[in-house]
């Protein structure tokens, strides 16, 4: 299945940061959802800002337009403001992208655990994201960092406990 570009991607002004505030807000909104959809489609969990500027995401070859770096910066600031992005360094060059927030992931995982009757059992992290049982689930192949964040969120709600089993990390779920 190839990625479905939104109509904005073929609209030249999309690649110029709009000076009018109302318009810019809408533009950034469209960019944000495009970035999220794109990462979801390609299963991207961490972004290197410099690298991604070179990809088709910010550069429409057919139109011969590319979003300038201050535009990209504005898009990422907007994503950060909406809590879809978390920076991994002070210089803001690499970040996690959450097409779902860790809280949403946590809910998905927990629901799956409940529906499969795995409460009070221990699963390895590998099982959750790479195992055969989760093949059809949306969190299959989830980045480990993001998974841990989701599990910590569950832990803070007293619904899970992260445990170290030898050199494997596991997690136990509670009612």
């Amino acid at each position: 299945m190839s990625f479905q570009w939104p109509w904005q991607y073929d609209f030249p002004p999309f690649f110029t940061l709009q000076p009018t505030l109302i318009t810019r807000e809408k533009q950034l909104e469209a960019w944000a959802s495009l970035v999220i959809d794109y990462c979801q489609h390609d299963k991207i969990y961490t972004i290197d800002v410099v690298d991604i500027q070179q990809t088709e995401l910010f550069h429409n070859i057919k139109l011969n337009r590319r979003l300038p770096s201050e535009g990209v910066r504005a898009v990422f600031d907007y994503l950060e403001q909406k809590k879809h992005v978390e920076w991994l360094d002070k210089q803001k060059t690499r970040c996690h992208i959450y097409w779902r927030t860790p809280e949403e992931w946590a809910k998905l995982i927990y629901d799956w655990v409940v529906s499969n009757g795995l409460l009070n059992t221990v699963c390895t992290l590998y099982e959750l994201t790479q195992g055969d049982d989760t093949e059809g689930e949306s969190f299959h192949g989830l980045d480990k960092e993001v998974l841990l964040k989701a599990l910590r969120h569950l832990q803070s709600q007293r619904r899970a406990e992260i445990i170290n089993v030898g050199d494997n990390e596991g997690v136990k779920f509670f009612q």
Partner: protein, 226 residues
């Protein structure tokens, strides 16, 4: 023979000039001292006196803005000028879409006069009086610093709708294209586009090829997508 005569003529002319300059210097120093006195006497002076004094200053070409602005705002001369501008410009303004940049106005007025020309400053001061006198034309100041004279009935705000329509009909437009179609100057066309952009009717595509404006599909899509 001939040469010596012209030489004499020239040197005489220069001497006269020198004398004239000295006279003017006296006038300047006198007018300065008068304005000093006026400042001291403030309150005991009637309007007419300062007005008269101002017209003396003007005829000399001495600019003394501080004291000028201290007594009333501009001379009667400017008011008369403003009235004249209103009568001269109303028709041409209607013909060219209700707005004219100040340099164009300057050209037109001075072309029409032939003699007794206006200085740019006179024109500007005259235009500044337009608002006060409640005439059918006004001076408008764009954020970009461009000054235009416009009909009160045809301000920028009223041109937003047609401008947006023009951009929509032609899918996208540059200032040049709008200028050609509407028969206005490029400067004005750009101002119109910017004003239309300001209210979110159109959006821009800024590339090395130039600045193009498109209908603001971002705003429209909002209703369609959600």
């Amino acid at each position: 023979e001939q040469n010596t005569r012209t030489q004499e003529n020239i040197s005489q002319a220069f001497e006269d000039l020198g004398k004239l300059m000295e006279m003017a210097k006296d006038m300047v120093s006198i007018s300065k001292s008068i304005s000093e006195k006026l400042r001291l006497k403030q309150g005991e002076i009637t309007d007419d006196e300062t007005v008269q004094f101002k017209s003396y200053l003007l005829s000399l070409g001495v600019s003394d803005p501080v004291t000028k602005s201290a007594f009333g705002s501009g001379a009667q001369y400017y008011e008369k000028l403003a009235n004249e501008l209103a009568t001269i410009l109303e028709k041409p303004l209607k013909e060219c879409g209700g707005m004219m940049a100040l340099p164009d106005v300057y050209c037109r007025v001075n072309r029409a006069r032939g003699l007794e020309l206006l200085s740019p400053e006179d024109l500007l001061n005259g235009c500044a009086m337009l608002v006060k006198l409640n005439l059918p034309i006004t001076l408008h100041h764009f954020d970009s610093g461009v000054l235009v004279v416009q009909l009160k009935s045809m301000s920028v705000e009223t041109t937003i709708e047609p401008t947006a329509k023009f951009v929509t009909d032609s899918d996208s437009a540059t200032a040049q294209e709008l200028a050609q179609t509407a028969g206005i100057s490029v400067v004005l066309a750009k101002e119109r586009l910017l004003a239309t952009e300001e209210v979110g009717q159109i959006c821009r595509d800024d590339t090395i090829e130039g600045l193009r404006f498109y209908p603001n599909k971002f705003a429209e899509a909002q209703t369609a997508a959600s």
